[in-house]
């Protein structure tokens, strides 16, 4: 069920109070049951695959840990990776590769249609398979002792706040917390409610409101003018950020209400002064996973400049592919890889700048120009991210280049400004306070309550009137 739906509010309204009533030693059992109910709401068949992933990695983790020889340990590790990649490949990538091969062999008279699978992509599969793989890899690296409790491990995999769209948690962060069965503190409850309020506002009042325009335009581009297309691209950049960061805030907030701390997934990425900085602030959990389990094992930046560039390209293409089984996502990854390589080349050994600190008007202006430039680069990649096919992406570019004015130009400009200002204002507050629950920084309780009440009110009113849009990252 979607977080931004009344059925979920009803679900949380029942689940959370019962959580506090359940004896501590049974809380993980309860949360596991609740997590499977949550997941099964989409489609009960998905629970079977989730359970299979859980059981296989639970036992493989133990056998891996208990294995006496390095060879056996490696075998168990590769078995786990093969199972997880195999599940991911079958459900997500199989048809993509069949279709791609089909395009090659069709001119030669070949036909692979019979191999095409009629298959539904289970929600969250890219997230929980990566999460379970991190478990077995960390056990293999002896960074983690495997748990002997299938309930605890099952909850680590299926923990409902982050099951379907992350953050992708490392086992060494999440599993110990689950094993300890924490009780949320009063501070966590305050932080949790605040994060949920801010997250809902971002998801519903920025993500959904921009998304309904974006979806209509990208869904039938030929029916819209150049102004609408460019506005849709700008709004999509805003939508995907508000949607995902809003969801992540809700997930973190819910987890805090259950006494669990999840990692931050975004750190004001649209205030990045370079593409390298952007990728350190955007979907942090995925970036960390790819860095720890792909980039560094490939050699990272330790094997010379040329090899570093190759490693960057490989990891970015894999990030692209992770998002979707489509050549547009491969191009998305390639473009970002090229950006990173060029930036690294330009840096020429210098360090990537950290958080901006004000050093005068000139440096501030330079910062603004860098931020705008970085956002333009990112927006270009979004053309491929959002367009269903290459032809659509090419058509989009053609319509922008051959500009035709729109009769609702002033409306489009106002929309873009309103959403951009709101997004940047919230990020600027986060940037300045270095907190996501910045409302708690306000001294007066009445002011804090007033702000949160207003945010919840407008979100609930909007949600009642308009059909909720699913989280964009659910499709991944």
């Amino acid at each position: 069920m979607l977080f931004n739906s009344y059925i979920f509010l009803l679900f949380a309204g029942i689940v959370l109070p019962i959580f506090f009533a359940v004896p501590r030693r049974y809380r993980n059992h309860y949360l596991l049951l609740v997590s499977y109910l949550f997941y099964g709401y989409w489609d009960w068949r998905f629970c079977g695959l989730l359970a299979f992933s859980t059981v296989s990695d639970f036992f493989l983790g133990q056998w891996l840990h208990d294995a006496k020889t390095d060879r056996r340990r490696k075998n168990f590790l590769w078995t786990s990776i093969a199972i997880n990649i195999g599940v991911l490949f079958s459900f997500k990538y199989f048809n993509f590769f069949i279709d791609s091969f089909q395009e090659i062999i069709t001119p030669l008279g070949g036909n692979l249609d019979f191999l095409h699978l009629s298959i539904i992509l289970p929600v969250g599969i890219s997230f929980y398979t990566f999460q379970t793989m991190s478990y077995t890899i960390d056990v293999y690296r002896r960074n983690l002792t495997p748990t002997r409790s299938i309930i605890d491990f099952g909850l680590f995999v299926a923990f409902f706040p982050q099951l379907v769209a992350g953050p992708i948690e490392k086992a060494k962060n999440l599993l110990p917390q689950i094993i300890n069965k924490p009780t949320p503190t009063k501070l966590q409850i305050r932080e949790g409610i605040t994060l949920i309020g801010i997250g809902f506002f971002k998801k519903v009042m920025i993500g959904d409101t921009t998304g309904r325009f974006v979806d209509r335009v990208f869904g039938e581009m030929e029916a819209f003018g150049s102004g609408e297309l460019l506005t849709a691209l700008v709004l999509f950049s805003i939508q995907i950020y508000a949607d995902f960061s809003g969801y992540s805030s809700i997930a973190r907030g819910l987890a805090k209400l259950l006494g669990i701390e999840l990692i931050r997934n975004f750190e004001q990425p649209y205030l990045s002064a370079s593409i390298s900085e952007f990728w350190r602030r955007w979907h942090i959990s995925l970036g960390a996973w790819i860095k720890d389990y792909i980039y560094i094992p490939l050699g990272g930046n330790r094997k010379g400049e040329l090899r570093t560039y190759v490693n960057l390209m490989i990891t970015m293409v894999l990030i692209g592919l992770w998002h979707g089984a489509s050549w547009t996502f491969v191009v998305y990854g390639l473009l970002n890889g090229i950006y990173l390589v060029v930036h690294r080349y330009v840096l020429n050994g210098s360090k990537i700048a950290g958080r901006y600190a004000y050093k005068g008007v000139k440096s501030f202006l330079f910062f603004i120009v860098s931020v705008v430039f970085t956002n333009i680069l990112v927006m270009i990649t979004r053309i491929f991210f959002r367009s269903p096919t290459f032809a659509d992406a090419a058509y989009f570019v053609e319509r922008i280049v051959q500009w035709e004015s729109s009769p609702i130009a002033s409306d489009l400009v106002m929309m873009s400004i309103a959403f951009a200002v709101m997004t940047f204002a919230l990020d600027a507050i986060e940037y300045y306070t270095q907190r996501h629950d910045y409302i708690l920084q306000i001294k007066h309780r009445a002011v804090r309550y007033g702000i949160l009440t207003s945010l919840f009110f407008v979100v609930l009113v909007y949600m009642f009137q308009y059909e909720p849009l699913p989280f964009i990252y659910f499709q991944f």
Binding site: E220, A223, P407, F464
Partner: protein
């Protein structure tokens, strides 16, 4: 004292937040303010220069013109030599589900202008979502007539013959002493008093308009499916439609019979069937179906369906709704082909420089 201070600060904070959120909602075109008014001589009308934002199967963002309809703001006083055609109909005609420039009103006006370059062609869109035939007729009598159209197109379907009276703030027709009469007492009921009370605020605040819309939904039968999603009983979801869209016996609609009979007798009226189905025999007789001033879109839709075109499917939202963009183009071309002979027959409409209808109107 502490408690009073707490509550005061809380209320002030909420008020300040509402102002900020109001600005955001308006600038972001998330919701519009109340964009209707109630004119004592017409009933509920579109508010002049009011913004509208509608996300249905498509998206429609714009402003009603200074006279309270969609499209170019043609002055009630028709320019000398212009050919003015008024469109009356329901949501299909009004078009608050797509861009105005892609709607058949705009496309048809453009095509007619190209075909008759010596004449200024004006198509005025007086369509209103939710209107039935009796609403359209009242609207024509009280409002459209002020614009002196040369031709009036009624774009309707069989369902429009059922007098629904869903809006308490528009006049309604009734039969008394064997004649058709118009009840204009809509300003005297509770609905009008409530409207007057709320209108000042709702016309200024998009946030309050959004709240009112949500409140209306919460009172409706759709509330359970909004809250319970797929756990709501299917019966709840369907009953709303069954109740409101059950087709009664159309032949019992005496008001509609009288209206369509009068319209069919007028030389300045063209009746357009916007449905793919044929009308019931009785209505076909009332509306003088074989008359030259009846345009049936049914054959067009049959042809489109045969070629595999889904006239109501919107790819952008994967929804079925009103005519999609391609269908608007087909409807335009078809209407043009049917209108041209009618216009040719009525040469004085085309050549009359005074722009005044010369054929006698049927008595009302």
């Amino acid at each position: 004292m502490k408690y009073v201070k707490f509550v005061s600060i809380f209320i002030l904070t909420v008020a300040a937040m509402m102002v900020l959120l109001e600005a955001y909602i308006r600038w972001g075109r998330i919701e519009s303010t109340l964009n209707t008014d109630v004119d004592p001589t017409i009933g509920r009308v579109r508010k002049a220069n009011a913004q509208y934002i509608y996300y249905n199967e498509g998206v429609s963002i714009g402003k009603f013109n200074e006279y309270g309809y969609i499209g170019p703001a043609y002055h009630p006083q028709k320019p000398s030599g212009a050919l003015r055609i008024a469109l009356l109909g329901d949501s299909y005609t009004e078009g608050l589900y797509m861009a105005e420039e892609q709607h058949f009103r705009s496309l048809l006006e453009e095509k007619l202008q190209r075909n008759y370059p010596e004449k200024e062609i004006q198509l005025l869109n007086f369509g209103r979502s939710g209107f039935d035939l009796s609403d359209m007729y009242a609207y024509e009598k009280n409002f459209v007539v002020q614009f002196h159209p040369d031709l009036v197109l009624y774009v309707i379907n069989p369902f429009d013959f059922i007098q629904r009276n869903t809006d308490p703030l528009v006049p309604y027709w009734y039969v008394e002493d064997d004649s058709l009469k118009l009840n204009m007492n809509f300003t005297q009921g509770q609905a009008h008093r409530t409207y007057q009370m709320m209108k000042g605020v709702l016309q200024q605040s998009a946030l309050l308009q959004m709240t009112k819309n949500a409140y209306n939904l919460a009172k409706s039968e759709q509330a359970s499916s909004i809250i319970l999603d797929k756990l709501a009983s299917k019966e709840d979801e369907l009953s709303h439609f069954k109740q409101n869209y059950r087709i009664k016996d159309i032949t019992q609609q005496e008001v509609s019979r009288r209206i369509i009979t009068q319209l069919a007798a007028r030389q300045d009226v063209i009746i357009v069937n916007r449905d793919s189905k044929q009308w019931p025999e009785e209505i076909r007789q009332w509306a003088s179906i074989d008359s030259a001033r009846f345009i049936d879109l049914g054959p067009l839709f049959a042809q489109l369906h045969e070629t595999g075109h889904d006239t109501h499917y919107w790819k952008s939202t994967n929804q079925t709704g009103h005519w999609n963009v391609k269908t608007q183009q087909h409807v335009t071309t078809y209407l043009l082909s049917k209108l041209q002979p009618i216009l040719q027959q009525n040469q004085r409409v085309l050549t009359d420089r005074g722009g005044v209808i010369t054929k006698a109107r049927a008595s009302r």
